[in-house]
């Protein structure tokens, strides 16, 4: 049929719209985002498109970013807190190719941050947008796989299933056996999956001045936490929510307040701990370098 005429062969990046998606699709996604912002924590269905990256690799986040990014934005992309992991590099390259916007590794310099599995250590500020990639948007999915059922449960704010699950964890182990994707209540109304961020990051969502948007491409859902919204991690009065703590400090920057990744350094299983947030770590090292240089003078 039409097929391989030159216009097809020549397209590559040039033939695609700014940020890949066509404007009508962006408008459809922006409508879903607006609805999500208006009902914090509610999962809005949207007509998720097939992106040139695989489902499960950030297509929801990519579609949100593509729908809201503008020429003046400064984009940061992280995966596991790091700017240099391959999938983060790939997504950043995708937007560089299709938008040409400025990119950065500095959390504070970014207007738009797409993330997988972490919230940056440096507090976000007003005007920034954090876009999460979400694999399974439904917090009840592991307890009730049928979506027709979970929709009703959300409608009735009937979250007994989840409370029973947490209670059973405590009865069995003495504590809640969830360390990431730890369920939260948004604005006292909707139970929400924070995406698979470590529970260490959960408190950062609460009353955050930045807009937090969540995109699940494969599951075709968008949800949001508007700025300054209550986000509470589920807990019981006698078993309050706790975050992870490390006895170690970051071997590179000495931080004791950041989420640490464990790295195996030799065949005997020797370990070291380093910040998962590469920007935070390098900033701290640069600062301490400045300080030492200052002392030398």
């Amino acid at each position: 049929m039409n097929a391989l005429d030159e216009s097809v062969l020549d397209t590559r990046e040039a033939g695609y719209n700014f940020a890949y998606l066509d404007e009508r699709t962006k408008r459809m996604i922006r409508r879903a985002i607006l609805k999500a912002v208006a009902i914090p924590g509610y999962q809005v269905s949207f007509g998720s498109r097939e992106m040139p990256l695989p489902y499960g690799w950030g297509t929801g986040g990519i579609q949100i970013t593509a729908s809201i990014i503008g020429h003046d934005d400064v984009l940061k992309v992280i995966d596991q807190g790091a700017d240099d992991t391959v999938n983060a590099v790939n997504i950043r390259r995708f937007f560089q190719r299709t938008t040409g916007v400025a990119t950065t590794e500095r959390t504070s310099a970014a207007t738009l941050i797409q993330t997988r599995h972490r919230i940056p250590e440096i507090p976000l500020c007003e005007g920034q947008i954090l876009v999460y990639q979400v694999p399974i948007p439904e917090p009840l999915a592991k307890l009730e796989p049928r979506e027709a059922e979970t929709r009703v449960l959300h409608g009735l704010a009937e979250y007994g299933l989840m409370h029973v699950k947490l209670y059973e964890d405590i009865a069995r182990h003495g504590h809640v056996a969830a360390t990431y994707d730890y369920p939260v209540m948004v604005d006292g109304r909707f139970l929400m999956s924070p995406s698979p961020i470590p529970k260490f990051d959960n408190p950062k969502m609460h009353m955050n001045p930045a807009l937090q948007l969540f995109g699940a491409g494969r599951e075709k859902r968008i949800y949001a936490v508007p700025p300054y919204t209550r986000v509470e991690s589920l807990a019981f009065e006698d078993h309050p929510f706790e975050i992870q703590r490390w006895r170690e400090a970051c071997s590179m920057c000495g931080a004791r307040d950041s989420f640490l990744d464990e790295v195996i350094t030799d065949d005997n299983g020797a370990r070291m701990f380093v910040c998962s947030d590469t920007d935070y770590c390098s900033l701290r090292r640069a600062d301490s370098l400045d300080t030492t240089q200052g002392e030398d003078q």
């Binding site: 391989l4 007509g47 097939e50 499960g56 999938n87 694999p135 979506e147 470590p198 494969r218």
Partner: protein
């Protein structure tokens, strides 16, 4: 000393270069042309078009070449390309009864108007490796002109080839699905998300795009007692149909092209209910190109998914809408299974901490309170 994993960008570039090299293989072997793939791997092209939801033989062949023959990857390429195309019009329903059939068989009537037309099929080949194909330039056997058992080709078109369903419907023996007045436009899952319970049009679209292997297994399960639907292959036909659109400014239908499709009408027993007399019910399968396995499996699954509508108990996976429709898409499945390759350092770190904590608690002597 720990070295931060830098240089992801260069590593990706190098990986792409290695991939290109691996795809090409030995440069002394001539490059495959798109035309060769399109002509000589026609069934691969058909599958990529069907599950890629884009009828374009040339682009499908290109995708197969680019994907080094990985059909799911080729489907991905075609789907991603398709997502950027504008929608110009909705076609009129294709009329498969008017198909220029290259093959039409029925397993329920020995003979019927239009006859049994075998056409090109592997069904009656003996599966012996044909070493003569390994030699270059083998002569292709000629089709005998008398057309016994259907030589296929355009001459069949002259004869009336009424559908089996229509013949049964004359006696009221089978359900019909005449579109009602004000029949809503079918849902388009590529524009609107799937919601449950899904309409039949949404289900059929989902199945038509669904993975052939998945549908085959689900259809097979219905034959082995998981939702038995007593199926008969009422009719399978493969051939060319015209696609028409009605441009707003014209107000009448014009043909914009021809496509090849395979259609399966599965005829299933139905004992009847309080409101409906006993009659045969139907499962429907349709796929781009020549794909009988896919369209038959689709028809089995379509019928199984109608359990609720027909008042049958929903017990087996093939009857469960959410189970079937949420897992049929091979791009979704492939992407999510393979996303496990992405780094999960942070989640795993959290789990490490938890397991250590639980092991520590496990090794502590019991003080009586933890007897439970």
């Amino acid at each position: 000393m720990y070295v931060a994993v830098k240089g992801g960008e260069r590593a990706i570039d190098n990986s792409c270069a290695l991939l290109a090299e691996a795809r090409r293989g030995d440069p002394d072997v001539p490059d495959l042309s798109i035309a060769q793939i399109e002509q000589q791997l026609r069934l691969a092209v058909d599958r990529v078009m069907a599950e890629g939801s884009l009828y374009d033989r040339e682009l499908a062949a290109l995708a197969i070449k680019q994907a080094a023959g990985d059909l799911v990857e080729a489907i991905f390429l075609l789907r991603a390309y398709r997502a950027t195309l504008p929608r110009l019009a909705d076609s009129e329903p294709i009329v498969t009864a008017a198909m220029d059939a290259r093959r039409r068989i029925s397993a329920v009537f020995k003979d019927l108007p239009g006859g049994q037309v075998l056409g090109p099929t592997y069904d009656y080949t003996q599966r012996l490796l044909d070493f003569s194909l390994a030699a270059e330039e083998i002569p292709v056997p000629r089709v005998q002109a008398d057309g016994i058992a259907g030589a296929g080709g355009r001459e069949c078109n002259e004869e009336n080839m009424a559908g089996v369903v229509g013949l049964l419907a004359q006696e009221g023996l089978i359900e019909t699905h005449a579109p009602r007045d004000g029949d809503p436009e079918p849902q388009d899952l590529t524009r609107q998300p799937l919601t449950f319970p899904a309409t039949r049009s949404a289900r059929l679209q989902n199945l038509a795009r669904g993975d052939e292997g998945f549908l085959l297994a689900m259809g097979y399960s219905t034959q082995r007692g998981y939702a038995h639907t007593h199926p008969f292959a009422g009719e399978i036909r493969y051939g060319i149909v015209e696609v028409e659109i009605v441009p707003e400014e014209l107000g009448f239908a014009v043909a914009i092209g021809e496509i090849e499709v395979t259609e399966c009408q599965m005829v299933n027993q139905f004992a009847g209910s309080k409101s409906a007399p006993p009659q045969f019910t139907r499962g429907y399968g349709l796929a781009f190109g020549h794909s009988e396995r896919k369209s038959m499996a689709m028809a089995l699954v379509d019928r199984a998914l109608r359990a609720e509508e027909l008042g049958e108990a929903v017990k087996a996976p093939a009857q469960m809408q959410e189970f079937v429709l949420s897992h049929s898409d091979n791009l979704e499945a492939s992407g999510f299974v393979q996303h496990l390759k992405l780094p999960h350092y942070v989640d795993f770190q959290s789990e490490l901490e938890l397991v250590r904590k639980m092991r520590a608690a496990h090794n502590q002597p019991c003080d009586g309170e933890c007897a439970a």
